[in-house]
């Protein structure tokens, strides 16, 4: 009988030892995340319940800031703008990245490395520099206008950044230019996991490239698409640099984003940190909701 018990004990303590080792490795990182990320989040939430300017923060009506947000016309404009970018820019960018990735996954393509680097390079640029360069590109005397005038499409320079719709389009173009490469790299690595034999089988069965793309590539890439969609949503909802440097909030708040408005509320105007914290929390909740929805739709595990 003792012989039966001993192996069991050893098995358990080995398992326990493995567990403890695992926890021992995880603890320092967990502690740091808790202290550096979660504790400030809780404090930010407490801050968002306070009202007042500068250092005169006090606990008034707890939901005051949250109610104030929806009555603030500049904030509602920024919310609208951010969602517009989300709805238009993210699908365009992801589809473009997917197409580029499947084109560059072709085994017979020469200079693949060159193309991949060239498309990925925009992502390595500084956010501030590229925004400033785009701003001067689309200026009234800028490069784009010069080209359009020389091609005869326009007679005089069009003020892209001075009109609401064109300013938004410029921001969307800038975002697509910058982030397509980044997402393309994710799709490329996802595509490496699809066996070539699947494509061969499809070719033998007579599938056209379009059919291959939609019926084989996309379904097999679903986890990667989900990942990039969630990351892009997260990034777009927190958009800041383009709004600040490219359009400075745009003609009459036509391109201002939520983060830009939060910055204004915290540093440019008389500091109102409670209200700014409440707005940040709204962004957090929106990202969480959208991520949850996307996972429900996309993730078929369970």
């Amino acid at each position: 009988m003792s012989q039966v018990k001993e192996p069991k004990k050893r098995k358990m303590s080995l398992e326990r030892r493995h567990n403890l080792t695992g926890w021992a490795f995880l603890t320092p990182a967990t502690l740091m995340i808790a202290v550096m990320s979660f504790w400030p989040m809780i404090q930010a939430f407490i801050l968002s319940l306070q009202t007042g300017k500068a250092n005169n923060l006090k606990f008034g009506d707890p939901l005051a800031n949250y109610v104030r947000m929806f009555r603030d016309n500049v904030f509602m404009a920024s919310l609208g703008n951010t969602f517009l970018y989300l709805i238009i820019q993210v699908p365009i960018m992801l589809i473009l990245a997917l197409i580029l990735a499947s084109m560059l996954n072709n085994k017979n393509l020469r200079c693949k490395g060159l193309f991949r680097t060239a498309i990925f390079l925009p992502c390595a640029t500084s956010l501030v520099s590229y925004a400033i360069i785009f701003r001067s590109l689309f200026g009234v005397d800028g490069f784009i206008n010069t080209v359009l005038i020389n091609l005869g499409i326009l007679n005089t320079g069009y003020n892209f950044l001075g009109h609401a719709t064109s300013a938004k389009i410029v921001i969307i173009i800038a975002l697509v230019w910058r982030w397509t490469g980044y997402n393309m790299v994710f799709y490329l690595s996802g595509l490496q996991n699809i066996e070539y034999s699947v494509y061969e089988a499809a070719k033998i069965d007579g599938a056209s490239p379009m059919q291959t793309f939609f019926k084989i590539t996309v379904p097999l890439l679903k986890p990667t698409i989900l990942l990039t969609a969630i990351m892009s949503t997260n990034g777009t909802l927190q958009l800041f640099d383009e709004s600040l440097n490219l359009t400075k909030g745009g003609p009459a708040n036509a391109t201002i984003t939520m983060s830009h408005y939060i910055y204004n509320m915290s540093f440019k105007y008389v500091p109102t940190f409670g209200y700014a914290a409440a707005m940040s929390f709204l962004i957090f909740i929106l990202v969480a909701i959208l991520a949850f929805v996307q996972m429900k739709v996309g993730d078929k595990r369970d």
């Binding site: 500068a54 603030d72 520099s129 200026g139 001075g162 400075k248 745009g250 540093f267 105007y269 008389v270």
Partner: protein, 461 residues
Amino acid sequence: MKRKILSALLCVAMTATMLAGCGGDSKESTDDNKTEATDDAAGDDAAGDDAAAGDDAAGDDAAAGGNKLTVWCWDPAFNIFSMEEAGKVYQKDHSDFNVEVVETPWEDVQTKLTTAATSGDLSTLPDIILMQDNAFQKNVISYPDAFVDLTDSGIDFKQFGEAKTAYSVVEGKNYGVPFDNGAVIAAYRTDILEQAGMKIEDFTDITWDEYLEKGKTVLEKTGKPLLSCQAGESDVIMMMMQSCGASLFDDEGKPALVGNAALKKVMETYAALKEAGVLVEVNDWDQYISTMTTETVAGTINGCWIMASIKTAEDQSGKWAITNMPSLVGVDNATNFSNNGGSSWAITANCQNVDLAKDFLKSTFAGSVELYENIISCGALATYLPAGDSDVYAQGDDFFGGDAVSAKIVEFAGKTPSNNTGVFYYEARDAVATAMQNIVGGASVDDELQLAQETIESQMQ
């Protein structure tokens, strides 16, 4: 063996970069223009270059103590140059004195000040900072404990233009030593005016209606507008407002946009100028400067610090002249003088040697005509009235047709009406800029002013 060496090298490289990263930040902020006239100016300088800002490590630029003072300011060619010259002037009588200037763009100064003051830990602040005049009310009222009261420091504030000093006076107390002059000038290309059959005298002491008419003539005969400005920035509007002493806030600090006859007149004037093509809007600071250097416009109206940027086009020397700005029609107390931008020196509460700082500022920026003569070369014009009487200021500037521009500008500064900037200046500025853009797009002035006032009130909560 090879792999071991390679992995060892990688570890060393990683550790080295980690340490370098922890040692200091190199921020990617852009260089500021001399004053804040436009918020965008804080974003880029005339050449549009990125410049690394000062080191972030707290120990380096915090207050020094002893015989050293640390200063935060921006613009090496202007403010930093002036502060270092002041250090030299003071060193003549105090040989062991030293001033350490850390280049910090205005937006960073504002952010660091807010962060330090909000957290209650002022130890990261230097002894002296340069602060935009428009931001004085906001910062001093929000964080009164972060600044030193200079009212009884021995500095004679009457030697400065009253409008200029008023920016840094909060509840009757002085908190700043006025520095650079932001008096508004109207600069014109005399050769282009000649082509249209006009002279600089035709643009002196005029009204905005006359300016519009003459501008249309110039546009017809030469194809060039008289004025350019940045879209989305309210500089021109604020200059016009201050020229008649009007403000966006009333005496109690409440926004007074609706029913503000001066503001309505200003916005109508601006819209008329834009529609006639006499005023063109550009998108950013660099484009604004290039409208002047590439001769797209026949003139400009801005703070006198714009002369340094105009002068970068050396081939246009002798073709420019300056005079005062037009005055508003149909508004009480309209004058031809105003102010745009400008900054003042403030002593932070973190200063370890407040007496030294006060004495330093008193002997240099508030007492030394020699200093102002030295810094005139970079275009820094004094608001210190005695400096205006000096011979150096009476010298002619060939770029502007041999005119004694400096003395003229100091005279303009003395005639500028003060106005009430208000604590919520930046909120009001943005709301007015938004309203102006909508009005130019065809909206009604009254509706937009109502909306702007509501926006400001909501942001003031």
